[in-house]
Subunit: 182 residues, 2 copies
């Protein structure tokens, strides 16, 4: 938040180099440092594609991959790990940019959907392609295919413990049964 920004921007250990240290400290330290480094390196590309930050891209991608390319605000907040207030602000920015719009929820008047606009969809695809190229360029040669698969599998287990809601790619917040997917 950094972000990680960092607070992902929270990185709390230089122990990522001390061999006598508890493995948990080393592991978390490496995760935070890696996240911080990736964010800093990839942010400019996302900024130039969307004029927004990395979390905006995550929101857009999650919407794109949800039924009707929309999600309930409360579900989107849970998936992204933002508080409701944080998500409100993020959707405000995305709506101002024309990538997202808000739709009322007929089943629950407290709630609202965040939905991708046609422009949002186009820009999401473009940004994601750019993002992918940036990532490949950044980490080329570090790990081979097998190592990457191993890392992904192990990281996924750790992620599933600390952020299970993030795995909800298609979401359960489906469009109401009375409205066909758009």
């Amino acid at each position: 938040m950094s972000v990680e920004a960092v607070n992902e921007h929270v990185s709390d250990v230089c122990a990522a180099g001390d061999p006598s240290e508890a493995p948990g400290i080393t592991l978390t330290g490496l995760v935070f440092e890696t996240a911080g480094g990736l964010r800093r390196a990839l942010a400019p590309g996302i900024e130039s594609e969307l004029g927004l930050g990395g979390l905006a891209l995550e929101v857009l991608v999650r919407l794109e991959r949800s039924p009707g390319t929309r999600l309930r605000m409360i579900d989107l907040a849970a998936q992204t790990g933002l508080t409701p207030g944080g998500l409100t602000r993020a959707i405000d920015r995305l709506a101002n940019a024309g990538f997202v719009c808000r739709e009322a929820c007929p089943d629950d008047r407290r709630g609202a959907f965040a939905a991708l606009t046609p422009l949002g969809r186009t820009r999401t695809d473009e940004a994601l392609r750019r993002h992918e190229r940036d990532i490949e360029a950044l980490i080329a040669g570090v790990l081979d295919t097998s190592e990457t698969e191993t890392l992904v599998a192990l990281l996924r287990r750790l992620r599933d413990r600390v952020r299970p809601e993030a795995a909800r790619v298609t979401g359960d917040s489906e469009a109401p049964k009375t409205v066909p997917p758009s």
Copy 2:
């Protein structure tokens, strides 16, 4: 990181679940999601030990493990991934809390050292022990020893590509030769 969150609050892909996706996208998504989840889970412990965020703990630990338990501001910024301005603020907070003090640099009047105080050292050790317990409690049973070692080794390679300066645990910014380590 919050601070983070930083933007580490940056998490940019829900693709961490899509099997047809580019491996780089999946991998970075998992890193960001894991980092965000760890931060959110571990922040309260650090807050209750230090009254500060996770990055403050990282700063303290890096100082503790540097010659003379101090580091040049510019080196500390590079290691933590903070901008000079961001580090200035962080050191301000740590100095206000009595954990850190600033020392002039005789060899270069532009520069300053951030040095751990005795109180800072005590509190760092306590906070680190607490942190370690929190981590172990959080991720108990997710990975066995071998899997953890594998994950650490692979992550370290990725980290070394995206954040090489973070690996400088003891730093090169040694105390000037004319001053013995304190």
